[in-house]
Structure formats: C-alpha cells, structure tokens
C-alpha cells in the first residue's frame, strides 16, 4: 500500500514557497492538489503536456482528410459543374477551414479525457475533499527507503513552510 504525506495549506503563495522549500531540501514533491490552477506550479514540478502538438497533428490531419474528400467527391466521383466554377474550386477553403476546427476540437476534447483517464461516473476518493474548495495539498509519496528521520524531516519542513495541517493517507486518489 502506498502512503502519502499530505501537507495542507490555505494560501496559494504559501504553497509555492513550500514547494520550493521541500525541493531545496531534496524532498520529491509528487503532486499538488488545488481548487484552481496555481500559476508557477507547473514549472516547479516540471510538468509538461504535449496536447498542443496533438492538436496541431489533428488539425493537419483534418485539412488533408477534408480536402481529399471534397476533391474526390467533386472531381473524381461525380464531376458536376456548379455556376461555371472549376470542379476543384477555391471556395472549398471554407469547408476545409470549418471542418478542420471541428476535427481539431473534437479530438482535443477526447484526448483531454483519455489522457486524464476521466470518464462519466468515475469514482474517486479525495484524501482531502476540501482541496476542491479552499485547501491546497502538497503530496509527498512515502517510499520504503524513507527512514522515520526522513518522514519527521518532511513533517518539519511542511510545518515550517506554513502548513495548517499535516497528515498521512493511503487514499489512492490518482489511479
């Protein structure tokens, strides 16, 4: 069973300083839970996302697929002149533009849920339910190599950095 040490804070700026302090002392901060995104935390925890790249690829895919479809239907499958315009016309741009956004949006939306492993009705138990309201939680994983001394040290660092409460929890919230 994995146990986490949780430092509970009630201010976003205090949390940022606390993360710095823990990291400066060689403690690995596993996660931070908050009621809203804290600016600057992503860099500190070294978190990155490749979603923009994914969206770009979806968009590229969209442009190609939609153009291929329009070209195939209008030029290859059933070439029919409308209003004296060429079969492969410039006005395809409009549909390509809009449907590219359609494909990009839909796939980005789905990617978000797939990457977050979120789906309707997923059951979760939060170690600190107030973290969706007004509490900020710094999560440090308690590994087997940690001695009692290390744990005490982490507790001390959290306390010094302004935690309002420190507790241990085996709730596996992020599965």
């Amino acid at each position: 069973m994995r146990t986490n040490i949780l430092g509970i804070y009630d201010d976003e700026d205090v949390v940022l300083k606390a993360v710095d302090k823990l990291q400066d002392n060689g403690v690995k901060v596993a996660d931070v839970m908050s009621p809203f995104p804290i600016h600057g935390i992503f860099e500190k925890l070294n978190l990155k996302t490749r979603m923009p790249l994914a969206t770009f690829l979806y968009g590229t895919f969209g442009v190609i697929v939609v153009f291929a479809f329009l070209y195939w239907t209008s030029v290859v499958s059933y070439p029919l002149k409308f209003g004296g315009k060429p079969l492969n016309t410039l006005s395809f741009i409009i549909i390509i533009f809009v449907l590219t956004i359609f494909i990009g949006t839909l796939f980005t939306f789905l990617t978000y849920f797939i990457r977050e492993k979120m789906y309707p009705g997923k059951e979760v138990t939060l170690p600190v339910p107030e973290s969706t309201n007004d509490k900020f939680v710094i999560v440090v994983s308690k590994t087997e190599e940690m001695t009692d001394m290390d744990v005490k040290n982490i507790n001390k660092l959290m306390k010094e950095s302004g935690a309002v409460e420190i507790k241990e929890s085996d709730v596996n919230y992020n599965s």
Partner: protein, 458 residues
Amino acid sequence: MYNTRVRGVLIKGNKSYSDITHEVLRPMNDKTPMWWWVTAFLATGALFWGVWGFYNTITTGIGAWGLNNNVAWGWAIINFVWWIGIGHAGTAFSIFLLIVRQKWRTSINRAAEAMTIFAVMAAGLFPLIHMGRIWDGFFIFPYWNTRGPLWDNFNSPLFWDVVAISTYFMASFAFWYIGMIPDFATIRERTASKIKRKIYGVLSFGWIGNAKGWLRFETAAILLGGMAAPLVVSVHSIVSMDFSVSVIPGWHTTIFPPYFVVGAIFSGFGMVLTLMIILRKVYRFKDIVTDGHFDAVARILTFISLIMATAYLTELFMAWYSGNEYELFTFMQNRVTGDYTFAYWTMITCNAIIPQLFWFKKIRKNIPMVFIISIFINIGMWFERYVIVVTSLSKDFLPATWATYSPTITEIAIFVGTIGLFLLGVLMFFRFVPTIAISEVKSVLKETTTLKSFTDED
C-alpha cells in the same frame, strides 16, 4: 506569459475562497424560488405553443407561413440569424477575453457560454423546419447514396451554414463543459445528499484537481478557445454569405461578413447584459458581478454601436456611390423611406443611437437604465434582420412581382416557442449548474483584492 494590468478589485467584500464557493452554490441548495416556477411555467407554455406551430408547419407545409414567391424568406430566417447572433455572446465573451487575458471575464463567462448553447439550439430549429420536408433532412449530409452517388453542392452557403453551425455548437459545448468540470467536482465533494453526489459525480468525470490535471485543463481550455475564436468570425460570415452571394439589391455587398459579425457580437453582448443583470439581482451576486463588470460591457457596447452606425452609413453611401439604381431604390425608397420606414428607423434608433447613452458614466452606473438599453439592443438587432430580409425581397427588379409580407400566427408561434426553449434552458442552468465559474473566480481573487476598486477606476 503575457498578462494585462488588472483593473482593480474584481470581487468585492474581502471574500475567502470558501465564501465564493458558498455564495455561488447557495442558490442551488436553496428551495426552488417562486419566480423560477412562474417563469418556467410561462416558458413551458410558450414552448408548447411553438410545438403547435412546428406541428402545423410540418403537417401543412411551408404554406402555413406568410411567405410568397417574392418574400420566400420570412420570420424563420430573421429569427434564425437573430438567435445565432445572440449565440455569439458566450464565445466572443469568454474566448476573446481569454485570449486578451481580461480577468474580469471570469464572473460572467459561464453564463454567457450557457446562453450561447441555448441560443444556438433555438437557432438550429429554423433551418430544420424551413426545409418543409423535415424527414428528408439527412439529404444535407454528404453520404454514399444510390443517386450517382450525387454529392452536396459544396459551394452553397446553405451547406456551409450546416457545417459552420454544427461545428460552432460542438466547439462551444466542449469549451463550456470542460470549464464546468472542476465546479461539478466541488459540488460532489461538498453536498450531503447522496443523489446529488451521484449525479455531480457522474458529471464531474472523476476530477481530482491535481497539478497535472490543472495543467491539461488550462492547456485544453486555451486550445479549444484558440480554435473556437476564428469560428466566432467565420460562423456569422458564413451566415451573411447566405445573403451576400445572391444578387438581390441590398444583399449583394462585400460589407456583409464584417457587418454581420459585429452585429452578432453586439446582440450577444446585449443579451449577456440582460441576463446577467437578472441573474445578479435574483441571486444577489453583487460582490462577484460588480457594477464594474457591467460598466466594462457597456463600454464595449458603445464602441460596437459606433461600428454598427458606420456600417449602416457605409451601406447607404455605397448604394449611392455604386450608381446602381436598384441598390439606391432599395435603400432610399424602401428602407429610409417607404413601406418599411418604421422597421428601418427602429433599427437605427435602437442599435446606433440609444447605446450612445453609455458615453455618460451616470447611465452606465444606473443598472435599471443599462437593463432597458440592453433590451433595446435586442429589439434593434431583431429589426436589423427584418429590414435586411424583408425589404430586399419584397421589391426586387420587376415591379409586377412586388409583394408584401406579414407573418402568420404559425410563424409567431414558432418564434415564441424558441424563446420558451431558450428561457427553459437558461432556467435549468440557473438552477442546476454553478452560474459563475467558481474555480476561475478564485484564481483571480487574490491578485485583485489588494488593489483599488474596479468601479472607482476612472
């Protein structure tokens, strides 16, 4: 990251994070108020009348409407464009203001987006019934068929419309829903009721609010917003092309796309004001939606109103400058003067003149006055579409075919029905969804409380 200067206190009353959660969720926990039931009753009545109009149209055919050979587009198209215009508010509001990092959007964006969803739903009904044979509606999709296969005309603005509006609906919904997930999780963790916990548990998709989750959340919001921003411009440009690619005098002008887009944002912001003033009043959100927020929207409206006035004048100028006698006739003898003088001047008064009152600080601060002006904008924008559709069609190139148009009771019923549908949607939203984006308001709370008040800025 680029940040704009914060214009003072956005949330008044020195609130804690918990206060905000409590205040926004309070109306959802209270007993359903009486005004809610009364409005819901009226809206349902309107909706039922609309269903009758709908039924009448489907069983009788388009003959149930007051259309004729000349005026082949009547209230259906007017109302369609009107609703789509209103539907531009949410996206224009949240997304443009997100991109230019205006933090004051956070108190209003959720409601504006909800409005978008319901307005686009109402708008979508009109093209559907205008087809007459609604059961053949699937013809619009380019599917493999036994007629060749014969495909759609991909150069037709009516096909672009279908694509644009379904994309717009999907994109607005995706953006709106992702934004609501953390707030649903907040309700899930707070509620004592088992049923509520279950429902909001399902809606919150298992949101936990950890750092990686927030990173992906913010990235998804900016990506979806970035993709939807060009849609705001393209949707109404495409709607305007329904008119401008034809050769009807009064429609065949290059100013139409920008003129329609600006008009859409204008009516959308007008409707946002109308609804937010009501929402703030009934839910006592005075500290979160401050006078400063309304002031900011009113200033934007003043500016957009000037653009509208410029567009109206440009149309008149071009009618003269083009030397085209049909254009000149349509504008001068069938709009400025003539049978439709009332509609034309109502449009000018409501859209270009009345909003200029917002130049006065006294009026911007007077909320009942702001409310009344916002209603005038909604009416003016409806008349704008009426002027465009009816005047141009009623008197075209051949005087022998001139015709007048007035709606039948069926058309009126359908319009009233869509208002009922929109109102019901908004009422559901008021009752079951956090009407203000809790997590977003919290994220701007701290950096904006120590500064001087938003309202006293100038």
